[in-house]
Subunit: 326 residues, 2 copies
């Protein structure tokens, strides 16, 4: 019989759940809009209900429950601290509460770490010893899997790469500093530069893309670049430069065997990778220049596959109980 | 009988060797000037000779040989690649050659990783799960020990923190980039700023310290600061700011339980720590602000104690043989 896990990908918009096999196969995925404004119990009720539906439809044993959730959270203590997209979730012992409801061991980690684990187990990072997963969307996040373990650091707070200072100038970040990787290189940052360009002469193609999409954002810049708009291409080149500077730092810091590039902006990976590689070739020390940089392989399933991975690679996880046994 | 290891701390100036107990006690340390310009065999002869002297004086069994050496080197393959301070050392399979000479297993790692391991086992980082060791001297290096293992990354090249870009301006680094942590915050950088200040009005105290020492450098700035020279104190404050910016990045990236500050500039730790903490308190996200930052505890013995640690914590080491067994 195939070993399976129950996997949850909890976001501020959608709550996804599935049975996932040890081989990374996603079965019976269900998605519901997260009751994000209705507090902890409402969401735990949703999860319990999804679990019952999924478990009723499976004939095998469920080895455990994996939960990928928005940070900040403490995977070591099994506590979600204060996710900005979920109202009322302050210091919630979600591992304990969900485990009591489902009668199964629960493993928690933040969404970027879970996606990193998923890409290492079954995606673009498979077979590599040290995998750096970087997700570039609204913000920039990351996760490192090394020797089969998520690199957690104190309170599971490691690889908060979005707030790495890479410049002495630039827009002020939400964190209050200037020069954060995220403030310069996130999809949001690219979208802002696109919105500015759309107001200036030459920005007509970007402006048209914004109108067609219904709002400004990175996607409008990417779509204009895909029809060879020179202004959009210049913005993409600048975006690749900032990404390259940040990634070069991370190459020196983690020396990954592979960089897996995910998040919304990975849809423009083909447009960005040339510029990123050029910056790495210029800025990285020679021993780091040939590191493989690829687009994430699991797409929207990374969260589910990775959450199941928390169950199947227990040493990768770090619930307090588990750590004390090792 | 106490388990002991034979430890080498190989530098471009000095070669140190000692018997080190499993408890981290350094016995019979010997130091000779490294025959750095005379090639590989000359240095291996020195090591063999020191080993024989030390082993003749010990009554117990030597569990193995630990070697801390200048990078770049590949601890996984046991190869020293091209240390700039040792002539003729290009792609030397030092683990294999030294093991053949001494008839003992040999464990190799770079000096910053070895010092990190030493501080974790027996120094300021003892008892902490994730230790970030930062050494600030001529350059800036680092090592991370997490869950009892040195964080190596591909080819053992991780934690090359000196070439992390933290600014868009500043002096050009030896690596060719602008804005490297090392180019802005190393002892060398502080010494250059001191030498500039010494030539300007108000720089008399620093100039006097340079004359007394015999050359410009960070030490002259530190000595002038110790007698409350305002120009030197301003340079120390700027140095602390750069160190704080770089350390804040590393707090977000590694989330260490403790930062252990070593290297030559750790002699000025008391002068720097206030400014460093102030920058961390301003720039780090709140969850990272209370991380302990302390001065290294082992001083010049960190290399020897850490090299022995490679023998006594085999999972921390990463020679190819060892890794393939795990």
């Amino acid at each position: 019989m195939t070993a399976t896990a129950l996997a949850f990908d909890l976001g501020g918009t959608d709550l996804r759940a599935a049975i996932v096999t040890q081989a990374g196969e996603v079965r019976q995925a269900l998605t519901v809009p997260t009751l994000a404004r209705e507090g902890v119990d409402a969401v735990l009720d949703q999860m319990t209900s999804l679990a019952k539906t999924l478990m009723a439809g499976t004939d095998g044993t469920i080895a455990g429950v994996g939960l990928g959730a928005p940070g900040p959270l403490d995977p070591l203590a099994g506590i979600m601290v204060a996710p900005p997209t979920l109202s009322g979730w302050h210091d919630v012992a979600v591992v304990k509460r969900l485990s009591a409801r489902l009668g199964l061991p629960v493993f928690l980690d933040n969404d970027a770490n879970v996606a990193a684990l998923g890409e290492w187990r079954h995606g673009a990072g498979r077979g590599f010893e040290t995998v750096l997963f970087v997700t570039v969307s609204t913000g920039i996040g990351g996760g490192v899997v090394s020797n089969g373990r998520i690199f957690h650091g104190r309170r599971g707070l490691a690889v908060e790469i979005g707030h790495m200072t890479i410049s002495g100038f630039g827009p002020t970040c939400l964190c209050g500093n200037v020069g954060c990787f995220e403030a310069l290189a996130s999809g949001t940052a690219l979208g802002h530069r696109g919105a500015d360009a759309a107001l200036r002469p030459g920005g007509e193609k970007i402006a048209a893309a914004q109108s067609a999409i219904g709002r400004p954002g990175a996607r409008a810049v990417v779509e204009a670049a895909r029809v060879d708009d020179p202004v959009a291409l210049a913005l993409i080149a600048k975006e690749a430069e900032w990404l390259g500077i940040g990634l070069t730092n991370l190459l020196h810091i983690f020396s990954p065997d592979i960089v897996v590039f995910g998040g919304g902006l990975s849809n423009a990976f083909d447009l960005l990778i040339g510029g990123i590689r050029s910056v790495v070739a210029t800025r990285a020390m020679s021993a780091y220049r040939d590191v493989v940089i690829v687009r994430a392989g699991l797409g929207t399933n990374a969260g589910l596959v990775g959450a199941a991975g928390l169950v199947f690679t227990p040493s990768s996880s770090a619930t307090r109980e588990d750590r004390h046994q090792t």
